[in-house]
């Protein structure tokens, strides 16, 4: 924990600050994200109570930015957790049991890996409708593959290490070995890949929203904001640059932090 306070971890602090702001701002701003200010449509930045101005309908940009960030990050973390749980369960089982079971399980993963999963997600969305639950689950189900592969590799490597054999010789039952010996030793790698999954999910969610297939009105997300901004960019470039810039900032910070963790634990 103390290590996180060092200067090296500045990306993490940026992300946490953004999250904090996204949570706090709606409480203190005079406008909500869907409130329309009939007197100020397409207002430029710093006009009255609208710090970043308003959009083409009259909604406060900053409020929408905060709300969109909340949704985007919430979806990202939830989906990343889904991928973590599914990935660890799958990968650990395949790695521990080994043999034909492992082969079958990993071929399944390989086959899925080759797919344009984005399209499958979109397909599912189209067929089953657009609920936020589906967004969570769909994205998480797509991202678990890498986690499964990584966990399976780690578990297989660990299984052969002498300290696991020694634990068996010392009479520890398999469940104890998995819980007390294997899981603590894959925690680091799993955490690192979790951090790397979050930006992936943010990209996927934003991408879906951009296409109009993700989060639904009245909710908003960074992806939707970028789309709205892009549609309107000839009139007000700020509408594109603000959410776009924030999105890129979040992605860059999450990626840097995730890679640092991954390099530590590899």
């Amino acid at each position: 924990m103390k290590a996180l306070l060092k200067r090296d971890h500045w990306p993490l602090w940026v992300v946490l600050s953004v999250m904090a702001l996204a949570l706090i701002l709606p409480a203190i701003l005079p406008w909500t994200y869907d409130q329309i200010d009939w007197d100020a449509v397409r207002a430029p930045a710093f006009s009255g109570s609208h710090i970043f101005g308003t959009d083409e309908i009259g909604r406060d940009r900053l409020a929408r930015l905060a709300a969109g960030t909340q949704v985007t990050l919430m979806v990202a973390i939830a989906a990343a957790l889904v991928s973590l749980v599914v990935g660890i369960a799958w990968g650990a089982t395949a790695g521990w049991v080994g043999g034909k079971v492992d082969e079958a399980m990993m071929r399944f993963v390989d086959a899925l890996y080759a797919l344009p999963f984005m399209f499958i997600v979109i397909l599912l969305m189209v067929i089953f409708g657009r609920s936020i639950l589906l967004v969570f689950v769909g994205i998480g189900l797509v991202e678990w593959l890498t986690m499964a592969r990584v966990v399976r590799g780690q578990v297989m490597a660990l299984k052969q290490r002498p300290f696991i054999l020694a634990a068996e010789a010392a009479g520890s039952p398999p469940l104890t070995i998995i819980l007390k010996h294997i899981l603590p030793n894959i925690a680091g790698v799993a955490l690192a890949y979790l951090m790397l999954t979050v930006p992936q999910v943010v990209m996927v969610e934003s991408f879906l929203s951009f296409l109009g297939l993700g989060v639904q009105e009245p909710l908003t997300s960074l992806g939707i904001l970028v789309k709205e901004g892009a549609d309107d960019m000839d009139m007000t470039p700020l509408g594109l640059l603000l959410p776009g810039g924030l999105l890129v900032l979040l992605l860059v910070c999450l990626t840097i932090e995730g890679e640092r963790l991954r390099d530590t634990y590899s």
Partner: protein
């Protein structure tokens, strides 16, 4: 005539002085060997003068008249390419994986600027170093060859351009024990044939003894002692040298005093272990075939063989941590069930100790928990507070103090970690220890102290031991009897001394020659 002369060399890396006051002389046609443990600076001393490490050398270094310290880039390149050949430790990684053997040999031969060799000439060179089917090999990639074959290729490449100096950094350490003798003999032959000056580096005194004219002993970056091999070994002057020589097991030293043995404890009958081939390939790999042996109370049995001989697999099957395909393993007449069916009481009888000490300890656990694990499972009736006392006693038995209780495995040295592993093995009072190459990964001095510890424990607790190793001389210091394995089959078994003085199997003879 000395080809290579180093006087008072010091080596620094990042401002830290790691090697100091080193003198080395190598003469044409003769071999000088540097002996030392890891961290002694022996490899640094050999490779730094040629710019192959990140270190910076100072002092006087002369190769065939060229001053290597003051050499400019061109002269250094000449020194490397024309005058010197190198053989490194790990033949697998030392060859470029995506170029064929022939291409790499050609490059080696051409490095001194001579013209291209014909295919026939290349094949001849491979043949000279004892590589069978030389012409075929030219088109193969390195990963298709075995370790011994790759090292022969490295040697061929190292002398292809007719250098004057050959530097070999642990040339046999990564090879199977039975091959070591052959490779060293090959190097001797080539040296005498071409009048090569050879500089050899090793951590194992025994492997260089018969091949080096001159010996240099290094420790912690300094030369401890140096002189002609024969006189150094029979008459060492320095304390360190004496300890090193004493630690190195030799076949001609006096036989140890071993304790008396009792009745048969463990017996294996027609034990066979087969594995399915990995991937989709058909067929099975026979690791151990039809092996029968026994161990008595208080007895130490050595299971000796090269790598791939199946000795580890057999040891694991006996200890109940590896597969058993057919045959029986019995304890005092009663058959022991296979791996997962063994009860807690059965587990308490036999405990393993492994080769890599640090890898045999869970890096996330403290020493205290590691050593306590067998007690928790095999003697659950003991309460936690009593358990701590038992853990302390076990650590004491392996000569480690209370301060080790809260340490993590990554902070331990190889020797300390192995002691912790032994403490864990003996804490629940087993009757048989299976030691799988328990000293092979340790430095000679550390390894011999572990061996002494094992003898002490054996006598104190009347322990039976199965000592799996490739090093017959070490086994002799501990064991009453010996079984020799080759390709999963017992090729020879009997009393230690009679097998050593009259080896019947070829494998045994090779292993004896390697000592």
């Amino acid at each position: 005539m000395s080809i290579y002369e180093i006087r008072d060399m010091a080596i620094e890396i990042d401002g830290k002085r790691l090697v100091e006051g080193v003198n080395i002389t190598v003469e044409a046609g003769k071999c000088t060997a540097i002996i030392g443990t890891s961290g002694s600076g022996k490899s640094l001393s050999c490779l730094t003068p040629f710019g192959l490490t990140s270190g910076v050398a100072q002092g006087s270094i002369t190769l065939d008249g060229i001053d290597l310290i003051r050499a400019d880039a061109h002269q250094m390149q000449e020194a490397r390419s024309r005058l010197t050949g190198f053989v490194f430790q790990q033949p697998l990684t030392a060859l470029t994986p995506h170029l064929t053997i022939g291409a790499q040999l050609q490059e080696a031969a051409a490095q001194a600027g001579s013209s291209r060799l014909s295919r026939h000439e290349l094949a001849q060179r491979l043949d000279r170093v004892g590589l069978s089917r030389a012409d075929e090999r030219l088109d193969q990639f390195p990963h298709r060859l075995s370790g011994g074959e790759r090292q022969r290729v490295m040697i061929a490449a190292a002398i292809a351009h007719e250098p004057k100096l050959l530097i070999a950094d642990e040339p046999t350490s990564a090879l199977d024990a039975s091959l070591r003798g052959e490779i060293m003999a090959l190097l001797d032959e080539l040296r005498l044939e071409r009048g090569l000056a050879m500089l050899l580096v090793s951590h194992d005194l025994a492997s260089v003894e018969g091949h080096a004219d001159h010996l240099i002993v290094m420790d912690q970056g300094r030369v401890v002692e140096s002189g002609p091999t024969a006189s150094l070994i029979t008459n060492p002057q320095e304390e360190y040298t004496k300890r090193l020589i004493a630690a190195t097991a030799r076949l001609d030293e006096p036989a140890p005093q071993l304790q008396a043995v009792g009745d048969i404890l463990l017996e294996t009958e027609a034990v066979t272990v087969t594995f399915p081939r990995p991937g989709w390939r058909r067929g099975k790999i026979k690791a151990v075939t039809d092996t029968s042996l026994h161990v008595r109370e208080g007895e130490a049995l050595a299971i000796v063989g090269g790598s791939g001989s199946g000795k580890s697999t057999l040891g694991k099957a006996i200890a109940g941590i590896g597969p058993l395909t057919s045959g029986t393993i019995s304890w005092q007449g009663q058959p022991l069930p296979k791996r997962r069916a063994r009860t807690v009481a059965m587990r308490a009888l036999i405990q393993p100790v492994f080769q890599d000490p640090v890898a045999s300890l869970d890096p996330q656990w403290k020493v205290r928990d590691i050593v306590a694990e067998p007690v928790k499972n095999l003697q659950p009736e003991i309460l936690r507070k009593d358990r701590d006392a038992i853990v302390l006693k076990a650590l004491e038995d392996v000569e480690l103090g209370e301060e080790y209780l809260d340490r993590m495995p990554t902070s331990l040295s190889g020797g300390q970690a192995q002691r912790v592993a032994i403490a864990r093995a003996i804490i629940a009072s087993p009757q048989l220890l299976v030691l799988d190459e328990a000293t092979s990964a340790l430095d000679p001095l550390v390894g011999s102290s572990i061996l002494q510890l094992l003898r002490k424990l054996q006598q104190a607790n009347n322990l039976s031991i199965i000592f799996i190793t490739h090093d017959i001389a070490s086994a002799r210091r501990l064991c009453h009897r010996i079984a020799v394995l080759d390709e999963g089959v017992v090729v020879e078994m009997g009393d230690m001394d009679s097998v050593i003085s009259n080896p019947t199997a070829v494998t045994t003879q090779k292993l004896i020659a390697a000592s």
